[in-house]
Structures are given as structure tokens and as C-alpha cells.
């Protein structure tokens, strides 16, 4: 049995987000949604994290940052793109400095659309990410 699904530790990175999705991510930790019920801890350290939550689109300046954070995480790891900006660039997709969604830089496993993404949707996205995490763990064993 894999215990990844019982204790997913999340690293939250704010790309060029408007802060709308960020406060919704943090709202998941509040007493109303209380994701710690499912063992979720919001860690600040990529070495400890299992799930990388990225909000906001990726621009030229934060490409190396996002890549570095991803490389510092230990396998198995998954990436969840939260909000429409992270999934496709949203209304900023045509800006001269934007490269669009996170998928252009990292392999994204789960997309959570919405502007801003609601806490329920974010929790649902994380739960879907757990299935992917489980698959990756099983693949690691072989």
C-alpha cells in the first residue's frame, strides 16, 4: 500500500498570478475546508513536498524559478496547475512576456480551471493528483 495518498505535502508557488487563486489555495487550509483532515500540509520546502501547486501563468522571468523548484522535489512528484492562467495563460495569454500556461515549462498532471479557482475545485484537483502520484509511486517500484 502506498501512503502517498494519505499524506500529500503541498508546495505552493505563485507564478505571475493576480493573487485571486492564491487566497483560494490558502482558504483550503482554513477551518471551513481544513485540508489537514486528509493529511495535507502546506510546506515551504521543495525537498519535502509531493505536490507542486502553481497559480498564475508563467512568464520569461519565472521560468528558471519554476524549473528549479520542480527539480528540487523528490520523486514521486506531481504538478497541479490552479486557475485558468496556469492552465492556458488565461486573459494574459497574448501578453508579450507570457509563455502561456505551466504546461509549456513543466509536465502538468492535473488542471484546475476557474477564475479564481474555487477551494472545492482545488481540493478536487489535489485528490485527482493523488491518483497520479500513486501511479508514479508504483512505476518507481518496478
Amino acid at each position: 500500500m502506498n501512503y502517498n495518498t494519505k499524506s500529500p505535502w503541498i508546495l505552493h508557488y505563485d507564478g505571475s498570478s493576480c493573487n485571486g487563486c492564491d487566497i483560494e489555495v490558502l482558504a483550503c487550509l482554513t477551518p471551513l475546508y481544513d485540508v489537514e483532515r486528509f493529511g495535507v500540509i502546506n510546506t515551504g520546502n521543495p525537498r519535502h513536498a509531493d505536490i507542486l501547486l502553481i497559480t498564475g501563468g508563467v512568464n520569461d522571468q519565472n521560468i528558471p524559478v519554476v524549473k528549479q523548484i520542480y527539480e528540487q522535489m523528490a520523486e514521486p512528484k506531481v504538478v497541479v496547475a490552479v486557475g485558468i492562467c496556469a492552465t492556458s495563460g488565461g486573459i494574459f495569454a497574448d501578453c508579450y512576456n507570457m509563455v502561456g500556461g505551466v504546461e509549456n515549462v513543466l509536465p502538468v498532471d492535473v488542471y484546475v480551471p476557474g477564475c479564481a479557482a474555487r477551494p472545492q475545485a482545488i481540493i478536487d484537483g489535489v485528490v485527482k493528483a493523488l491518483a497520479v502520484l500513486d501511479e508514479k509511486q508504483n512505476a518507481m517500484k518496478k
Partner: protein, 290 residues
């Protein structure tokens, strides 16, 4: 006789982290209830550790992992010495050795965050070590022995003679249990600006070892509390366990109702409390009783 000793040692090595992990689970549930949340399941700390064991092991350099295992070894040794009723001074020195190896691990992993964490760990040790030694000295003055088995077989519990020393020990227990306001070196929950202090560069199995070491440490810290209450009367052991639980609950409440302080205040306040309570209490004990 030897077989009984070996069985006891094996039981201590196996059961201590299980009880420590359950305590950590209770801690997280009670912390969540204090904050108006439901909280994780009781076995959550075990799930975390089992997950970490299976994760990938990232190597930062060749040496830094050794210190975590050395730290665990000495902490287990401390637990065995204390719970077998051995020499308290020996236990304290071995405990210090374990903590020093842990700080070495922080230095060896070379990350700026972990070096800050290691320096803060050393500052914490400066803050709490005098009080730990004075606790042992006070218990020696009451029982005329450094052996824990003698200390817990007195007619009168040590707390009667050493109430102020007990208060001082509970004060520095906050350092040992890594709880707010004195969790300077290694925060457990989402302390972003520290990025988890010493454990910054540790991932996978070594992080699980750090967690297990902490379970042993919490039981060792509560064993000190236990010694204050236990006497030759068997019923007193029930009270001693209850006292440990009350003290642990108190520490959880303090953890949830305070924020982290600067190291200057942590060091000064620990030394002031140590100086005042230990000097007054030890003077009174030496003047009136012995």
C-alpha cells in the same frame, strides 16, 4: 536475568516511537480543535513517515546523512538509559550528544537555511542545557542518587521539594518539544521563512528518521516530568503518567497561543527562569532539608 534485560531493551526501542508517534497524532488533533478545525486522523504521523521512507532519496553531499543516523542512535541510547532506570547524568550527556550530531547535520548539508537552523539549534541548547543539568542536580539533592530507579523509589515525590525546579523544567520543555514560542531551529508546520530549518536539505528516508528521533525525544522529555511525580507507592505512577499528559496538553496550548520569539528573548528568558527558580529552590532544599 540477562534475557529479561534484553527483552526490556527491545520493548523500549520498539514501543517508545509508537507511543511518541501517537502523542504527535494527539498533538495535531488537539491543535486543530484549538483552531476550530477537525484535524487529521490519529495515525497521521505514521502515514507521513511511511510515505517518506518510500520517497526518492536526494543526495546533497556524501556526509550529511550520517549525522541523522548518529543522532537517532544516541537518542535511542538515552531512551534506553532513562527508561531502564539508569544514570540520569549519563542520559543527559548522551541526549546532548544526539542533539549536537543533529546540529552537525544542519551544518554539513551546506544550505544557508539549514546553517541558520543549526546555529539556532546550538543557541537553543545554550538556553536549555543549564536547566536540564540543574534538574538532575535537584533530583540528586532530594534522592541522594543520580540513578532514576532510586529517584522514583522515594517515599515523597520530588515535586514536593522541587516545585520551582519543575516550573523551570516545564519552561525549557518548550525547547525540547520544538514548540512555539521557542521553535527557532526547526518548525513543523508551514514556517515559510525558516524553510524547516535544519531539515531543509533532508528528504525521503532521512526526514522520516528525523521525525522518529523527535518521537523518542518527546518521550524522553516527558520521562523527566515522570521522575518528579513517581514514588515507591504504585498508585503514584498513575499520577505521574497523568502529570505527563497534563504537561503535554499545556505545551500544546502554549504552542497554539504564542508566536515564535527572537533568539535573544528565548535565551535571556530561559536563563533568567533557570537562574531564579533553580537558585531559590536549591537554596531552600539545601537549607531546610539536608
Amino acid at each position: 536475568m540477562l534475557a529479561i534485560w534484553i527483552i526490556r531493551i527491545i520493548l523500549i526501542v520498539v514501543l517508545t516511537p509508537i507511543v511518541g508517534g501517537l502523542l504527535a497524532g494527539f498533538d495535531r488533533i488537539i491543535s486543530a480543535r484549538v483552531q476550530g478545525r477537525k484535524g487529521p486522523p490519529l495515525l497521521q504521523p505514521f502515514y507521513d513517515v511511511l510515505k517518506l521512507i518510500k520517497k526518492e532519496n536526494i543526495e546533497v553531499n556524501k556526509t550529511y546523512k550520517f549525522y541523522v543516523y548518529a543522532s537517532l542512535f544516541f537518542i535511542i541510547l538515552t531512551a534506553v538509559i532513562m527508561l531502564m532506570g539508569g544514570d540520569m547524568l549519563l542520559a543527559i550527556f548522551v541526549l546532548t550528544l544526539g542533539a549536537i550530531f543533529f546540529a552537525f547535520g544542519g551544518y554539513a548539508s551546506q544550505s544557508p537555511y539549514s546553517i541558520i537552523g543549526a546555529e539556532r539549534e546550538l543557541l537553543q541548547m545554550m538556553a536549555y542545557e543549564p536547566m536540564v543539568l540543574i534538574t538532575a542536580a535537584g533530583l540528586y539533592m532530594v534522592s541522594k542518587s543520580f540513578f532514576i530507579s532510586d529517584m522514583i523509589s522515594q517515599a515523597v515525590p520530588a515535586i514536593v521539594y522541587l516545585p520551582a525546579v519543575f516550573v523551570g523544567f516545564v519552561y525549557i520543555l518548550t525547547f525540547k518539544l520544538r514548540k512555539s514560542p521557542f521553535d527557532l531551529s526547526l518548525g513543523h508546520h508551514a514556517h515559510q521563512e525558516l524553510v524547516q530549518g535544519i531539515s531543509t536539505e533532508y528528504s525521503g528516508r532521512e526526514l522520516a528518521i528525523i521525525e522518529i528521533t523527535h518521537w523518542y525525544e518527546s518521550i524522553i522529555a516527558l520521562a523527566f516530568v515522570y521522575v518528579f511525580f513517581a514514588t515507591s507507592n504504585p498508585i503514584s505512577h498513575v499520577f505521574a503518567v497523568l502529570a505527563c499528559l497534563v504537561v503535554y496538553f499545556f505545551e500544546i496550548l502554549v504552542d497554539n497561543s504564542t508566536v515564535r520569539v527572537k533568539w535573544q528573548l528565548a535565551l535571556k528568558s530561559a536563563w533568567i527562569v533557570t537562574g531564579v527558580v533553580s537558585v531559590v529552590n536549591l537554596m531552600i532544599v539545601s537549607f531546610f532539608k539536608f
